[in-house]
């Protein structure tokens, strides 16, 4: 609700109270089945592959005397962080260790929130890459809202453990960008698991992956289209118009059912169901879009249909429209220095993240790459240094948000992770030096308080089934490689 001027605080409180009471009276079970306002979110299932993730066993841990970058624009010198029962229970400078707590001396070391990579294809384009493992693009037609990346993820991708050694504790795995509408993405905890459900971040919303620009044109230009950028835009609009009609059909059905005259139940369409959830803002859109002008057009399309674009990904030209992004509360997901591999990436600059951030919009790093995901701290360092060289006073405490807080915000999980604050999941990285140095390694990585990786302990270096028994694997493989 937008704050309105002139209303006294008690008045606002009263309105809220009455609204809540009315909602409770009108919506038995919390479901609005009253007719046109019906939320499909509450009618359609939205959790068919439920998370079975359970945090691994952990012991209470105090890291003391470290430099802590909290992800809330704070750098605490000689700081301590207490982890209990998988949660962060205290962050400060003079914490006293409770009894039976493991104490880790962080002298000369740094602590940050776990890194979150908002754009990864680990598991869907895994290592090894061959014709059997290309599960990221359902490039059979330009709109495939019915597919879900979680159904393609191979949990044995050795890339997950390499990312863990880079301090990455959560990732969003997206379908590729061949399609205008690529399907649902999924947020995973970066924990070893035999099943994908065992990695699923509990309570993280789904997103819908959509793609602007060259890729859909290249894939479908000679396969019935779209062949042009205008064809791309027409494709999104056609799909969402169908979804609107689909939602309307169901709303009518529910309304009639409530009135005791249900008639025939409409046919179920799994893809349109996903798009209807997008229209109801239950599922936000993660939009692959390089060019600034195309971002502006997509913002208009989102307004026409009422969906929410959480972030533009690979937003190499976001720096040209950072004011527009800020105004529309849309994040920009960027690389530090990738550029030029295709026409729409020709104008990327290393200062992009810093410039978007400076304009007050939400900026962040991403990898889109199984090597880059291992060094997101270095990528942020490159972006930070580029910004400083153009005169922006960017602190480490601020830059760390580009790989922790901001991706958590864009994924809708900032209430759970992304910063080092009391009550959050203890997804925490201890670095053996300044994380923005090329020479620094993640030394210990905790997920929900459990120590999942320790650079100094080979027993705490997860190794996927694929790597087992390969020759000389005692010299390679596992997270620490």
């Amino acid at each position: 609700m937008e704050p309105r001027g002139g209303l006294p605080a008690w008045g606002a409180a009263a309105i809220v109270a009455v609204t809540l009471l009315l909602s409770w009276l009108l919506l038995p079970g919390g479901h609005d089945t009253s007719g046109d306002g019906a939320k499909v979110a509450d009618q359609f299932p939205n959790d068919e592959f439920p998370s079975t993730y359970k945090p691994l066993a952990s012991k209470p841990t105090l890291i003391k005397n470290a430099t802590i970058l909290t992800g809330t624009d704070q750098e605490i010198a000689h700081g301590s962080i207490l982890i209990e029962n998988g949660k962060i229970t205290a962050v400060g400078t003079d914490l006293q260790p409770p009894a039976d707590v493991r104490v880790i001396d962080g002298s000369g070391k740094f602590v940050t929130p776990g890194i979150i990579d908002i754009h990864s294809h680990l598991g869907v384009y895994p290592s090894p890459s061959n014709e059997a493992t290309q599960d990221g693009n359902e490039a059979t037609k330009p709109a495939t809202p019915e597919v879900r990346s979680e159904n393609s993820v191979w949990p044995q991708d050795p890339g997950f453990s390499r990312a863990l050694a880079g301090g990455v504790t959560a990732l969003e795995i997206l379908p590729g960008s061949a399609n205008l509408i690529g399907g649902r993405s999924v947020v995973l905890k970066n924990v070893p698991s035999v099943t994908t459900q065992g990695m699923k971040f509990p309570g993280a919303p789904y997103d819908l992956k959509m793609a602007c620009g060259e890729n859909p044109k290249r894939v479908y230009g000679e396969k019935g289209g779209p062949q042009t950028q205008m064809g791309n835009i027409a494709g999104y609009r056609a799909a969402f118009q169908k979804a609107r009609e689909y939602r309307e059909k169901w709303r009518k059905y529910w309304k009639a059912k409530k009135a005791g005259k249900p008639g025939d139940e409409p046919d179920r369409d799994i893809g349109l169901e996903t798009l209807a959830l997008v229209l109801d803002k239950v599922i936000p859109v993660q939009m692959h879009c390089y060019r600034g002008d195309q971002m502006a057009t997509m913002i208009d399309v989102s307004k026409e249909f009422g969906f929410r674009i959480a972030a533009f990904h690979h937003a190499t030209e976001a720096y040209k429209v950072a004011d527009l992004l800020k105004k529309n509360d849309t994040c920009a997901v960027m690389w530090a220095d990738w550029w030029g591999f295709k026409m729409e990436a020709y104008d990327a600059i290393p200062e992009g993240i810093a410039m978007v951030d400076h304009a007050g919009a939400c900026a962040m790093i991403h990898s889109d790459d199984p090597l880059g995901v291992q060094r997101l701290n270095q990528e942020v360092a490159i972006a930070m240094a580029a910004g400083r060289r153009m005169g922006y006073p960017i602190t480490r405490a601020h830059a760390v948000e580009w790989m922790t807080r901001n991706p958590a915000k864009a994924l809708g999980i900032l209430d759970k992770v992304g910063t080092l604050e009391k009550g959050k999941m203890a997804d925490v990285v201890l670095w053996d030096g300044d994380p923005f140095s090329v020479y620094t390694h993640a030394e210990k990585v905790f997920i929900d308080g459990a120590l999942l990786y320790d650079r100094k302990d080979p027993r705490l270096s997860p190794r996927s089934d694929f790597e087992l028994g390969q020759e000389e694997n005692d010299h390679t493989g596992g997270a620490g490689q």
């Binding site: 990738w338 030029g340 600059i349 240094a385 390679t476």
Partner: protein
């Protein structure tokens, strides 16, 4: 255009040409690091108070000077006497290194990877489809087995926007070479400098690119025995051809003209030991086989990629075969790279193998500026810092045969010099000044111009196109 304006234009052009031809004689004064390029004229340049990494016999000077005259380094040492006409640049204790050299890039031959008109890193899809060797799987367009006559010097564009961007990473020299696809022979690479041109080519036929590694994620790819059979056949054909070149073309001569004689001619410097084979292989067994072939046939080998090279480090050291490494590759991206590890460079180096670095190898054109980061990651994973710096300066100069003029800060070498604002291998560092053959390069690129155009979004006084 009327006669008078035409004349005026001509004389204006003549005047500006005359102005350019004037000898530059600037009085001694501290120069801005973003100064316009000066021709390598008689004006000496003195870089003072640097932390000088000579990468040569003199080692490191904690407070030293470098004197540049006529494009060459003429003195290196503490407290050099300032020539009266010198431009003086105070490094303020910051690191000074030789300009960096990237081994295996596509600088100058690719502008936008996916825009075919700007991509000269291979024969081009249409030609290869037209001229395909159909011994491999039928149907889809196949690349030819041999494009050995391909030579990057026909394509190098000195005005590519990638070159100033690479310079901003401290890179002043590079091997630019063909991309590896689905054939065996890909053609000649060249050594270039990253100066203002117009001629960037430092050395032609610097290496013949070959791949003997199955290309990975495509169906119907050639198998190892096929690649090797084609490789040996081609090399044997070249030897036979060179021995009886005249007879080869005669009707009813040695054999049909297949492979094409231009592709056999292109292998002459390889057969005669003047040009190395740059062989892309990753799997340890493949590397060993390539090393053995080189020994048995007296062919100079440089391994490209070599993700499992650490496993055969002693073979490589014994055969004195260098390896071009991307130190960030640590994934079993294929069954040829099961043993990939971040420790590859350090282990090879410790075993006495010559390691030189390529920038991030996924995109060999645009990521040249990541070269120092690659070296830094090798250090993070066990390689001594000074060896890593040598692997992007002196070592590649030796491997590519230009060590007589480049690679160290020593008297007589070309003045490729970089003044850094911090540790040159650190990701937060950048050059404060870059000299190539004694010419101060402007620290400006298309990217810095885009940055400057858009840095004030709130300024609505005029459209961006006028900024």
């Amino acid at each position: 255009m009327n006669r008078i304006t035409l004349l005026a234009t001509i004389s204006a052009l003549a005047l500006s040409a005359a102005a350019l031809a004037q000898p530059v004689n600037t009085p001694a004064k501290p120069a801005s690091v973003t100064a316009a390029p000066l021709p390598p004229g008689p004006t000496p340049i003195l870089i003072r108070h640097g932390h000088i990494y000579t990468v040569g016999a003199a080692g490191t000077l904690s407070d030293g000077d470098v004197l540049i005259e006529n494009g060459k380094i003429t003195a290196v040492g503490p407290n050099l006497v300032t020539p009266p006409t010198a431009r003086v640049i105070d490094a303020g204790g910051k690191p000074v290194t030789p300009g960096l050299m990237a081994s295996y890039t596509q600088l100058g031959i690719v502008e936008v990877e996916l825009v075919s008109e700007t991509n000269d890193n291979g024969p081009g899809q249409d030609l290869s489809a037209f001229d395909s060797d159909d011994d491999t799987a039928s149907g889809a367009a196949e690349e030819k087995i041999a494009s050995s006559a391909f030579d990057v010097v026909d394509a190098i564009n000195p005005t590519s926007t990638l070159i100033p961007i690479a310079r901003l990473g401290g890179v002043t020299r590079a091997l630019t070479a063909p991309a590896v696809g689905r054939g065996v022979f890909y053609g000649h690479g060249a050594i270039i400098d990253l100066g203002k041109g117009p001629d960037l080519v430092e050395k032609t036929k610097a290496g013949m690119v070959v791949s003997l590694s199955p290309p990975g994620d495509n169906r119907g790819q050639p198998s190892r025995p096929l690649l090797w059979a084609k490789f040996r056949e081609m090399m044997d054909d070249a030897r036979e051809y060179l021995a009886q070149r005249a007879g080869y073309h005669r009707p009813g001569g040695a054999r049909d003209q297949r492979p094409a004689s231009i592709d056999l001619d292109a292998l002459e410097p390889v057969i005669h030991g003047r040009e190395p084979l740059i062989v892309h292989v990753d799997r340890a067994s493949d590397i060993r086989q390539v090393v053995q072939y080189g020994r048995a046939n007296n062919i100079r080998i440089i391994i490209l990629g070599g993700e499992e090279a650490w496993k055969v480090a002693s073979d490589l050291a014994a055969a004195q075969v260098p390896v071009i490494v991307d130190a960030e590759q640590n994934l079993p991206g294929s069954f040829s790279t099961i043993g990939a590890t971040l420790a590859n460079a350090a282990r090879l180096d410790a075993a006495g193998v010559t390691v030189i670095f390529q920038p991030q190898s996924d995109e060999p054109a645009h990521y040249a500026r990541t070269l120092a980061q690659i070296a830094g990651n090798a250090v993070a994973n066990g390689m001594p810092w000074d060896h890593a710096l040598a692997a992007i300066t002196r070592k590649p100069a030796e491997v590519w045969g230009i060590a007589d003029r480049y690679g160290t800060l020593e008297v007589g070498k070309d003045a490729d010099v970089v003044v850094w604002d911090g540790d040159p291998l650190e990701v937060t560092s950048a050059p404060k000044a870059v000299f190539i053959k004694g010419v101060a390069m402007p620290l400006v690129s298309r990217q810095t111009m885009l940055r400057d155009r858009y840095k004030n979004l709130n300024d609505k006084s005029k459209p961006f196109a006028y900024r």
